[in-house]
Symmetry: none
Subunit: 409 residues, 2 copies
């Protein structure tokens, strides 16, 4: 089954945003055995949209569009596609009611142009939007499938998971069952060498490695008739890989590193405090994105200035003067001070040079110290990261979660 992803939006052609929706959808469709053959992007122009859609429908079995479902005049996707397929637009009462409810709840008047969001091509399956006002829809027509999703990723992704993945699961006669082995602390090529023979001999399950910022994931996928059969097929391969990679494997359930750290803390009934300098609150914020994390997350300190490090965490002026704010000594005093001030079981700290400025020959941009403290003492880790400010900050938080995981594992 060949899929084309057609993104609609002049903002893409103006380069204001990158087509991350196409990336997301392309990365997820292989889970259900579906391959993407084309991406295309067209602006908010009915003629070019029509021509692009026509072409997509000719060369692919499934066309997934993103964008152009909103209330404005520029939002033309549904209307243009319906006209090309010879379908009328019809008011979907449940979508209309939920629009009314949305505006009354948010105490804003619903302007007339909003109503058009509740009009969908006749006979289509409505894909409800829990995170915005524009519903998506799915049309089956002459053996082809057209799926229209909203443009904002915060709306598109949940809708994709809730509707599109299950749709293909049902449509295909077979299942693909995957395990995601998530690895931190070994690079992609080193990891590949450690399991090269397993990858080379793959048939069913298949193994696909992919690298994300600072970490590597192996997707191990079995083609099967039932979930049970799939899990049985996966087991020997997954176990062999885990044996070889050891403690670098932090999850086989597609949990993220911060989720693993939080789960372990909650399971062991331990509380934690964060003390952050260069990451500026990022480590605490990502932790706090986990629902229910209040069971372990007590508080965090963003001690950006030296004064804040001294006042909030009791880092000594002497340490800052002698060793600098970016040093193992400061990291250790930050973690110890945070644990004491917060009264938590564990505290972690991070201080580093995220750049672009501030690097020296001794401590170049990317120098980061992480420390962890519990009732048995404290320890630190120095890491050297490469990349821009954003990457250094992001990968630093991964190291923080990894040090928590290894501490309480």
């Amino acid at each position: 089954m060949m899929v084309e992803i057609l993104a609609v939006g002049t903002e893409l052609l103006m380069g204001q945003i990158s087509n991350t929706n196409a990336q997301y959808i392309s990365a997820r469709l292989p889970e259900v055995g579906v391959g993407v053959y084309y991406h295309s992007v067209v602006g908010d122009n009915p003629d070019r949209l029509k021509a692009s859609f026509k072409l997509a429908l000719e060369r692919a079995d499934v066309v997934i569009t993103t964008g152009g479902l909103g209330p404005t005049k520029d939002d033309l996707t549904k209307e243009t596609i319906a006209s090309e397929l010879g379908l009328e637009m019809a008011l979907d009462k449940p979508s209309y009611d939920s629009l009314i409810e949305h505006f009354s709840k948010s105490n804003r008047p619903m302007t007339q142009n909003n109503v058009k969001q509740a009009y969908l091509p006749e006979g289509s399956t409505v894909l409800t939007n829990r995170n915005g006002t524009a519903p998506g829809c799915l049309v089956e027509t002459n053996g082809k499938v057209v799926i229209m999703l909203p443009g904002p990723p915060s709306e598109m992704k949940p809708m994709f998971s809730e509707w599109v993945i299950p749709y293909f699961m049902k449509k295909n006669g077979y299942l693909l069952v995957s395990k995601f082995i998530r690895i931190f602390g070994i690079g992609e090529s080193a990891m590949e060498e450690m399991i090269m023979d397993i990858i080379d001999n793959q048939t069913n399950p298949t193994i696909a490695p992919y690298a994300k910022e600072g970490e590597v994931t192996l997707r191990v996928t079995a083609m099967c008739k039932s979930n049970e059969e799939g899990l049985k097929l996966l087991e020997p391969t997954v176990n062999e890989i885990m044996k070889r990679l050891g403690s670098a494997v932090y999850s086989t359930d597609n949990e993220e590193l911060h989720e693993v750290a939080a789960r372990l803390l909650i399971e062991q009934n331990k509380t934690i405090a964060f003390a952050e300098s260069c990451t500026g609150g990022l480590a605490a914020a990502k932790f706090a994105s986990i629902p229910g994390v209040s069971a372990c997350l007590d508080r965090g300190y963003v001690t950006y200035s030296n004064r804040a490090k001294m006042e909030e965490l009791g880092v000594s002026e002497e340490t800052l003067r002698t060793h600098g704010a970016v040093s193992s000594q400061t990291a250790l005093e930050m973690a110890e001070g945070a644990r004491k001030a917060a009264g938590t079981d564990i505290a972690v700290s991070v201080t580093g040079i995220a750049g672009p400025d501030g690097g020296t020959e001794d401590k170049p941009v990317g120098t980061v110290f992480i420390a962890i403290s519990d009732k048995n003492g404290s320890e630190f880790k120095q890491i050297k990261l490469r990349g821009n400010r954003e990457k250094i900050r992001n990968v630093s938080t991964l190291h923080i979660y990894d040090i928590i995981r290894r501490k309480i594992m």
Copy 2:
């Protein structure tokens, strides 16, 4: 002149990377008065690449390809396009010499497959690659232009600046100049109704609205002969829009809301502290992503637990018991307490219910209180947000930056 950007690479269709090259090229071409009408992505497959290129050449005047210029068997762009254009491949001696030099400098043997990088379609202009081994090329054919650029952004971007921008500057007589009016606090459809007549009467400049999570941007673009003339053409339209939308406009220079807030703080030499509950450090972390922000950002408190709110910020137990952690009273005490504890000019606080659990009839998920405190007193704002936990947290931080901006504007 219509441009199509054709990216070649299976890694894009697998979702391993996002097509940021298309974004970069699309954002830069308007500088030289060239509009992008289509993006397309195709895998490393000669038949589909050939068909996609043929289509691009039919519907566009200029085809810019990225990727597929390297030494491996999968790198097929030049060969496939040359064959479609009826051109032979010819060895480019300077490119060959520079390959030899590259390998001898890096002390690596040059394997035979590398030589193919020095073969280019006959009659093409060679675009030298200062950051990699594969040169690009430019072919003018039957009134159309084909430009082939390498895939790695670190090679593509400098080549684009050095060769492609000057090429179009010379070719064109006119420029496109844009202003981006960024708006917070008015929804997309309400905003559109406020300026509907301006949008309807657009010719030059043209106006295009688009919505991002929680905010709206208007792009106003003039076609002109010079940058000065463009700015003069834009001025009356931009001024009229700004007059109508008032203080909801936070930037006409494409700055983001947190950047505007930080810039204003730094310009006025004011320091700030954040006190966050539901956002868990996100507001401080995004602020800290700005290089040089230490000039205004002193510290932040992530007071997730009630105990943290009391101990770090001096929120009274009475307030928490009577009004709850999510209340205007708690938000105000958090902001006041943070300003006092940190000794900063300004402190902002946020407390809310990000969900998915924790909502009540009185305070449903999405109820958020934001407060700001300075030497003249404190004030709060209650907002009602919709969406998932991530969206509620993200949009809350935008409201925090907006309250800072409005306070010191």
